[in-house]
Point group: C2
Chain length 202, copies 2
């Protein structure tokens, strides 16, 4: 739970140190290993000072996750393919290069059992999905995409392989793979729009 | 670490009770919450008895995960579509109805930081992927699938949306969605095989 926003520069600095230490520890040791004691040791900020800002370990973990939830890019390149390439390359980049990448499984795991973490997880996904569904809606208006395609399905078809390769099959998650996923999904969408009622040839 | 296989029926029974309690606790509380103390309390088996079989909490957690790693189905229906429908419907079913579903994020999270859990996670994925790549190889031999399609890419395109919908976007993971994913990916593969060098329209 967040207290009233601090204005004292010393409080702002110590708050930033605590959040940075908590993020480091979460990516090294998971949420369970990120105790207030461990954060105090890592940040050099006294436990009593930390408890003045956060009620408990969960409140601190939630605030630390929140600092990572940057607004997703909202590309508007003029074509669906251009927008999707930007979005999916951005996702591939975020899951390999950003500090959030190592924390995502901890957040997903915590979300399985804890409604507060589930809400943070949901908020993160919803922000990213909004950018994609805006791009899909524009493509429908431009006549580039059939209005029959369900945006939620398309988003799962696009984002799923990136997540799966990063966290399960553990292959290379690079621009080449991002582009392959986008082009594969677009080819499928266009072929299905031309022959909507045919089963795929074998 | 597993000790020599027990043959005493009492040991076999207590071992099964401990593993069942560990699985229950892992899906309720995650790996960190599944202490030997908690397993003893849940199973009614004395801590000393548990420590006779497992060196520590991690060894017990690994054995409990291993009991869930059933061999994936290896369908051979005669068509690629038939095989993939069986595999992907099976995956959707496993991620929604099986006790492993709630544990998968805990395993993925533990695998981010711990090489032993990473090995278990890798083994689970490799078993499932082998069934899929066998089906894809048969399809290439039958002339149903272009040999240019990389099986690792196809597997990520198929399994990714199922995982993503289950753990991130949290929509309905049912047979309808499994079939949509299979048909979408097959349509994309066939369209790209017919026009391998063309970018998608627009």
């Amino acid at each position: 739970m967040k207290r009233a926003p601090a204005t004292d520069p010393r409080v702002i600095r110590s708050r930033a140190s605590v959040l940075a230490a908590a993020l480091e520890l979460m990516s090294e040791k998971g949420i369970a290993g990120t105790t207030i004691e461990a954060v105090a040791a890592r940040s050099g900020i006294a436990k009593t000072t930390i408890y003045r800002q956060w009620d408990n370990q969960q409140a601190l973990a939630l605030d630390a996750f929140a600092t990572l939830l940057n607004t997703a890019p909202t590309p508007d390149t003029g074509t669906l393919r251009g927008d999707l390439l930007e979005l999916i390359r951005g996702l591939a980049q975020a899951l390999t290069a950003s500090p959030a990448a190592a924390l995502m499984p901890a957040l997903i795991d915590a979300a399985e059992r804890n409604p507060t973490f589930a809400a943070v997880h949901h908020q993160e996904a919803a922000r990213r999905h909004k950018a994609a569904s805006t791009a899909l809606t524009r493509a429908v208006h431009r006549g580039e995409l059939s209005p029959d395609a369900d945006p939620a399905d398309v988003i799962d078809l696009l984002a799923g392989p990136i997540f799966y390769r990063r966290y399960v099959s553990r292959g290379e998650v690079d621009e080449t793979f991002a582009d392959l996923v986008v082009d594969h999904v677009l080819t499928g969408l266009h072929a299905r729009a031309r022959h909507p009622h045919s089963a795929p040839r074998r």
